[in-house]
Structure formats: structure tokens, C-alpha cells
């Protein structure tokens, strides 16, 4: 958006604030250190249920993350994860793990919080631990999932979005979203609306200019051509195209699942008025 002048087109100037970890980024959004930010959907819901005035104003993409096992692993389905060591890159409180835990419990009957031993580590470390046999399966981050899939080093046990769509049909919920705080949105509705306009223009730009995937790959130091090709192939279909009533209902249904299935450990209550489309251009 910034690099291709999409913010300039809507007359916005933004100061970009980078964060080293999702947890810090979430805190920045919750504590209003940034006005608009990209964060984990479940975590933002948790923040609102803990009294933060966060609102979710658009979806970015549904998970590209995958669970990997070694090729010779006896683990054939998520049910086989019972009693096994499962590596989780963002920890059991993360939005992506919540997504996996919901899938696993809802469609495979396994409670990963209790039935598996969860090992938290950065995704690159998990990939190595899996190779060494220190863990039995690993839920990897977006980039690492694409890299390991392209390298064909491990077997994919579960592709989160594909599995969700296979069971539920239609779209998958966005797990990365655009969030802001209510106070800022009320005080500057035009800025929020313009930002989302720029974001939607950005989506169109991505579809019309496939070369941006190469630019993105370069920015994250992804040099392997197979991985670069896969980056677009895996990510583009998971981008949220429409923040409409259907997508919002899907997001709400998903939150109810998180609450009913995981409950206290992640989401005590489904917060009211979290998801908004009043700023959607």
C-alpha cells in the first residue's frame, strides 16, 4: 500500500511501526500505540473481552499455515496427535493455534490443549526439532509452511484453511485482520474509511500485478523459485476479498466455536460489537 502509492491516492500519510513479535503488535493495538494495525483475530477478540476497545474492521487472510509430520511418521490424522509432542510456533494462546485447536476438536475429536504435549518455539526452530525427532508434529508459520511444503521435506498432516473449507464449505474465517480502537474510529471515521479504501485498492493491485509477490518474497528473503511460486499459489486464494455480511457471520460463528470449544483458556466470552463493517468503503 505504501510502496505503490496507494495511501497517497486516498490522501493518507502513515507512520509505519514495526513489531518484532505478534504479542507486542497486539499490545500496541490494544494500548492504542498504533491507530490501525494488523493482528490475530482471536487475540483481538480476547483483548476486547478483557476490556480493550478494539474493533475489527476488515479481514486480511485465512490461515496458510500447515501442520507437518515427518514422512515416516505413524501420525496419519490429527486424531493420532493424542499423547504426541506438537510444536506450536506462536504458543497455545496464539490465533493460529486457536484455529487448529478448533478444527481438531470439532472435526477430529481431539482436545489438543489436554491430549497433546505442546511445545512452543519459533517456527524455524520447530522445523529443525521435527527433523531431529524432538517433536512429533509442528504447526508452522505462514512463510515456514510454504517453505517446508515447497521443499517437500515433511508430510503435511493438515492445511488449516483447506481443512476448514472441506468440512464447512465456502469461505474460511480470516485469522489475520485489520483492527483499530473504537475511540480513534469514532473520532476519525474518514481516516479509517480511507485506509480501508486504500487496502481494497491494494487487493485489486495484487491481483492485477502478480509481480508484487516476487517483491514480497524478496522482502522476506525467500530466494528459492519454487517457494516464490508457492507463496502466491497458497496466499492469494486465502485473501479476504469481501468484508460482507457473509464473511462477518462466518467470523462470528468461528468465534463462537473458539469460545465453546476452547473456552476459558483463550476466550472467556464472545465480545459484542467486535466486528464492524460501518467503515467498509
Amino acid at each position: 500500500m505504501e510502496g505503490h502509492g496507494l495511501l497517497d491516492q486516498v490522501g493518507l500519510k502513515a507512520d509505519k511501526v514495526k513489531s518484532l513479535s505478534p504479542a507486542n503488535l497486539h499490545l500496541m493495538i490494544a494500548e492504542r500505540k498504533v491507530d490501525i494495525g494488523f493482528g490475530g483475530f482471536t487475540t483481538m477478540a480476547t483483548a476486547r473481552s478483557e476490556g480493550k476497545d478494539i474493533i475489527v474492521i476488515y479481514g486480511v487472510f485465512s490461515p496458510v499455515n500447515m501442520v507437518f509430520v515427518r514422512k515416516d511418521s505413524p501420525i496419519k490424522t490429527p486424531m493420532d496427535l493424542k499423547g504426541k509432542k506438537l510444536g506450536v510456533f506462536g504458543g497455545p494462546g496464539s490465533t493460529t493455534f486457536a484455529f487448529l485447536a478448533v478444527l481438531a476438536k470439532n472435526w477430529y475429536g481431539i482436545d489438543l490443549f489436554h491430549d497433546s504435549e505442546l511445545v512452543t518455539a519459533p517456527a524455524p526452530a520447530l522445523a529443525e526439532l521435527l527433523g531431529k525427532g524432538d517433536i512429533d508434529a509442528a504447526l508452522l508459520g505462514t512463510v515456514e509452511s510454504i517453505q517446508n511444503f515447497a521443499q517437500d521435506r515433511y508430510r503435511v498432516l493438515l492445511d488449516l484453511s483447506a481443512d476448514y473449507k472441506a468440512h464447512q464449505g465456502g469461505r474460511a474465517p480470516a485469522h489475520v485482520i485489520v483492527a483499530t480502537n473504537e475511540e480513534f474510529a469514532k473520532a476519525h471515521p474518514d481516516i479509517v474509511r480511507d485506509y480501508l479504501k486504500a487496502y481494497k485498492n491494494g487487493l485489486q493491485y495484487v491481483h492485477a500485478h502478480p509481480e508484487v509477490w516476487d517483491e514480497y518474497a524478496e522482502s522476506i528473503k525467500m530466494d528459492n523459485p519454487a517457494e516464490r511460486a508457492l507463496l502466491r499459489e497458497k496466499m492469494e486464494p486465502n485473501l479476504v476479498e469481501h468484508w460482507d455480511a457473509e464473511q462477518i457471520a462466518l467470523q462470528n460463528d468461528y468465534l463462537k466455536l473458539v469460545h465453546d470449544i476452547i473456552g476459558e483458556s483463550v476466550l472467556k466470552v464472545v465480545p459484542a460489537d467486535l466486528i464492524r463493517n460501518d467503515y467498509t468503503p
Binding site: 504479542a23 497486539h26 499490545l27 490494544a30 487475540t43 480476547t46 483483548a47 478483557e50 476490556g51 480493550k52 504458543g91 497455545p92 494462546g93 496464539s94 504435549e117 505442546l118 511445545v119 512452543t120 518455539a121 526452530a125 526439532l129 524432538d134 483463550v266
Partner: protein
């Protein structure tokens, strides 16, 4: 005599907490009732014991390593001028390097396991013990050693009956101090690279914005540390240093 001030101290601490919780929103300073309720739920769920066990194991083993390294280097520095010169800068480096650096290095070297945590704790905490022991040895009453020699005590007896009793208060004091440091370092290691323990739980609840749980886990560990202090360290210290007479002014104050 000491019970009343101690009770008053705890009550006043709770009152300060109550006042602060009334002044701030629960997501900033949760009240004691909410925190004790969260702690009760954690205990009832049973998960507390596993995480507490893991942290105490790491702290315990880390403390052993800290004391071994600290007493060894402190003794060498106290007994030998060359040793003092040689190890002086090591201890200084150990004191200066932030504990998080030890944690990161150990996690990268040994992997995400208990060994990394124990080594990180031991290497980060031992300089404080070294200095205490080093100063303790320098403060040993050499006249008593001369007296022992005059009474034809052999070297072993001099160490056991004259040197060690004088050094013991320094060892005990540094051990209590090191325990606090070990707990802090252990929390850091667990926070950045472990999948169990109190530090891991703090990180987990931090990610979920639950201040009540952050307070609950901190309080739980504080209670455990108090129990170790009052049920283990203080009786042990009292027993091992029963030969010492108190400072008159302090006896009067009691």
C-alpha cells in the same frame, strides 16, 4: 515479638493492593478477590503443579550450579592473589552481561530444554555468589587461624572448625540472594524459550491480555518462595549458625 509486625506488613500490602485496584481498571490492577479466584481455579485444574514443578526444578538445579561455580571462584579469588587477578574480570563480565544474553546463548547452544535453562541460570547468577564468598574469605579472622595453629590443629580441622563456620553466614546469605536471581533468570528463559513453567504461563497470559492470571501466577510463585524462605532457609540458617551471638543493638531491638 515479630509476629505482629509481620502480620501488619502483609495486611498493609493487601490494603495498598485493594486501594490500587479500586483506583485502576481490572485489566490494569485486578483486585485480590479476582486474583485469588483465578489462582484457585488454576490450582483446581491441576496444571499449576506441573508448571510449578518445572520452574522449581530449573531454579533448584540452577541454584546448585550457581553455588558450585560461585563458591569455587569466590574461594579461589579469596585464597589466591593470582586467582583474584585472573578471575576478577570473569566475574565482572558475568555481572555486566544481561541475563537475557545468557538465556539466548544457552537456548541456541543447548536447544529448548531444561539443560539450557539450568546453564543460563547458573552462569548468570554465579558472579554475585563469587563476590560474596570472596569478601567473606577476605574477612576471615586470621588471628583465630593462628590460634588454631598454635593449638596444633591440622589443616582439615582449621578449615572445618575455624574457616568454614566464619564463611557459612556468607554462603547462606549469598544462597538466599542467588535464589531470587535464579528465579528471575528462570522466568526470562521460560518466557523466551520454554513450553512449561511459571515464566511460560506469564507469557501465555500476557498474550491473552489477562492481568488477573499474570498476577495469579506471580503471587503463587511468591508464596512458594516465601515458603522456601521461611520453612527451609531460615530454620537452616538458624541451625547452622546457632553458635553466633547476635549484635547487641539488634537483640535490644527485638
Amino acid at each position: 515479638m515479630t509476629t505482629l509486625p509481620r502480620v501488619l506488613s502483609i495486611v498493609s500490602l493487601l490494603l495498598v493492593w485493594l486501594v490500587l485496584s479500586a483506583m485502576f481498571a481490572p485489566n490494569i490492577v485486578p483486585g485480590p478477590v479476582v486474583v485469588f479466584k483465578a489462582m484457585g481455579e488454576n490450582i483446581a485444574s491441576g496444571k499449576v503443579f506441573y508448571h510449578l514443578y518445572k520452574t522449581l526444578l530449573r531454579v533448584g538445579l540452577g541454584l546448585v550450579l550457581t553455588m558450585v561455580l560461585g563458591v569455587a571462584t569466590g574461594t579461589i579469588m579469596g585464597l589466591s592473589r593470582r586467582g583474584e587477578v585472573f578471575l576478577d574480570s570473569w566475574v565482572l563480565v558475568g555481572l555486566t552481561v544481561p541475563a537475557i544474553v545468557n538465556s539466548i546463548i544457552c537456548l541456541l547452544w543447548f536447544g529448548l530444554n531444561d539443560r539450557a535453562a539450568v546453564v543460563a541460570i547458573g552462569t548468570a547468577a554465579f558472579p554475585a555468589v563469587s563476590i560474596s564468598i570472596w569478601q567473606g574469605i577476605k574477612g576471615i579472622d586470621t588471628q583465630l587461624v593462628s590460634m588454631g595453629q598454635a593449638f596444633h590443629l591440622n589443616k582439615s580441622a582449621i578449615v572445618r572448625k575455624i574457616v568454614f563456620p566464619q564463611l557459612l553466614p556468607h554462603i547462606l546469605a549469598s544462597m538466599r540472594y542467588a535464589l531470587g536471581i535464579c528465579w528471575k533468570i528462570c522466568t526470562t528463559v521460560e518466557l523466551i524459550g520454554m513450553s512449561s513453567g511459571v515464566g511460560y504461563q506469564l507469557n501465555y497470559w500476557f498474550g491473552l491480555f489477562s492481568m488477573a492470571q499474570v498476577f495469579a501466577w506471580t503471587l503463587l510463585f511468591l508464596l512458594v518462595m516465601f515458603a522456601i524462605e521461611y520453612l527451609l532457609f531460615k530454620p537452616l540458617e538458624k541451625r547452622l549458625t546457632r553458635w553466633r551471638t547476635g549484635v547487641p543493638a539488634l537483640q535490644w531491638a527485638q
